[in-house]
Amino acid sequence: MNPIFKNHEKDFMRIEADQVCVDYNGTVALYDASLNLKAGSICGLVGMNGAGKSTFFKALMGFVRPSRGKIRINGLKVNQAQKEQSVAYVPQNEGIDYSFPVSVWDVVMMGRYGAMNIFRIPRESDRRAVVHALERVDLLDLRERPIGSLSGGQRKRAFLARAIAQRASVLLLDEPFSGVDVPTEKLMAELFLQFRQEGHTILISTHDLNHVRDFCDFVVLINKTVLAYGETSEVFTSENLNKTFGGIPPNPLSGPTSSKDFINE
């Protein structure tokens, strides 16, 4: 099942970042960050808060303009790729106003806006896409509910459904596992594997190393630049993790107590 990608999307790297530098008013947030992700891969973006993770994300979404370097998505510039509906963004739960008067259906339909005309009037195909997306995240029964009445896990699934409805080839997820219940986590894991098979490329920003090890084929370790990048088994060395987290044991509450334990597991 792979009818959704446009022809040109097959020939290129899904995400291609070449020596990307970003600075805010002279302060360097990210330098020389390079990354190549092919179709059908899941990549974890790992780093401490303030290490440039979200800056890299913002650059990939075109929210900040790199001062140097270039970014291509399916061979296109970021804004062109966005106009082609190639990039879907799943926000952190904290970034959304959940008292906003919209239903689950409305939220998922927002994934279709880019494919609609200026009045954003849904066609039959848009409704089918929304139903299909809701089925995949197991929320079809709750489609009429206000988004604010959902649990944390259900909310996450609703925004995942929006990304599915958008039919983007590249998915960017910001801390997808935070505040999520176990059934949702299982469902997300299954979905990610399906996405990979369908040829999607998924980039997950997270500080949770356990999840990276469980889901990700590739990992990017970030601390102001890309420290290490490659297959998860090769990159996750205690040396690399120490460089990434500056010797501080990552995630003491939910993760391994030290990077050393993590490697020995």
């Binding site: 106009k83 990039v87 106003d97 906003f100 919209v102 927002m110 806006y113 206000p146 958008q166």
Partner: protein, 290 residues
């Protein structure tokens, strides 16, 4: 006066004002302005722009004065100063360490003061009280035409970009990531705010126009979880408040702008207390059954 009030029938109460040309005009303009501001108020409350609404509505003051003095349509001057104030707020915020709410307060009071000074200095037939407090009962024919044109523009744009603006208020990042130009939407919304402030000040004046731009939206927000319903409720309650306010003002000879805004506030209070889901005395069975 009160004896007179008791002695008339409700039908007379409704129909008698309609025999006057100025009252028919006032009712029509107030209802229309109420609808326009009510529709926009949904976006203002959801986006959290109440203070911005206050700022823009005050900042249009010098624009109105200058336009009158130059013989231009006052909406043009108001529009220029409304958008200008927003640009200035953005500039000062970016270039200094001062927090945004302080910058907003600083800029709009500055503009407002400039307006007051200009009124006292420019010799013209501008009535300060009319600008500050509105006077729908004394609205002129040319002002009616301007109001009609601006209202038509604002409503059309809001209807065309309804979904995009809603998405912009809800999740601007997603809007950007699907290729929607949120910068344009931002300034579009600010432009609509300036235009609505201009028509709003016709009926309730500069000082109270911010009520027109937030109260109906806040009331509707307490009553529904659906965006489309919210817009309908806001428009309806806002227009209704305007009409009832004008009637009350006519019969009991009280200030019209104050009367309209008081009715709005009263409706808000009722929603605040008795809204089925979000009121203080919310209906528990309603919540459990939904």
């Amino acid at each position: 006066m009160s004896e007179f009030l008791i002695s008339i029938t409700p039908i007379d109460w409704l129909l008698d004002p309609l025999t006057h040309d100025f009252m028919r005009r006032a009712l029509m303009v107030s209802a229309l302005v109420g609808g326009v501001c009510g529709l926009l108020s949904c976006y203002m409350t959801l986006k959290g722009w109440a203070l911005m609404g206050d700022a823009v509505s005050h900042a249009v003051m010098p624009g109105v004065v200058v336009a009158y003095a130059l013989g231009l349509p006052f909406s043009l001057g108001a529009f220029v100063f409304g958008v200008g104030s927003v640009a200035l707020i953005g500039f000062v915020k970016q270039k200094s360490r001062i927090k945004e709410d302080t910058v907003i307060g600083l800029v709009f009071t500055g503009f407002f003061a400039l307006g007051l000074v200009l009124v006292s200095k420019i010799k013209s037939n501008i009535d300060l009280m009319q600008i500050l407090f509105g006077s729908p009962l004394g609205i002129s024919r040319s002002d009616v035409n301007q109001t009609l044109i601006i209202s038509f523009i604002v409503i059309s744009i809001l209807l065309i970009f309804r979904k995009d603006l809603m998405l912009y208020c809800f999740d601007a990042k997603h809007a950007r990531s699907i290729g929607i130009n949120t910068g344009i939407l931002h300034y579009l919304l600010l432009t609509l705010l300036s235009l609505s402030a201009v028509v709003g000040l016709q009926t309730v004046g500069i000082i109270l126009v911010v009520a027109m731009l937030i109260t109906p939206g806040a009331t509707a927000y307490l009553l529904t979880d659906r965006f489309d319903q919210m817009t309908l409720l806001a428009v309806f309650s806002s227009s209704f408040s305007s009409i009832l306010g004008v009637y009350i003002s006519y019969w009991s000879d009280i200030e019209t702008g104050g009367s309209i805004v008081l009715v709005q506030t009263l409706i808000f209070l009722i929603a605040f207390l008795f809204a089925p889901r979000y009121g203080i005395f919310k209906n528990q069975t309603f919540i459990n059954n939904n």
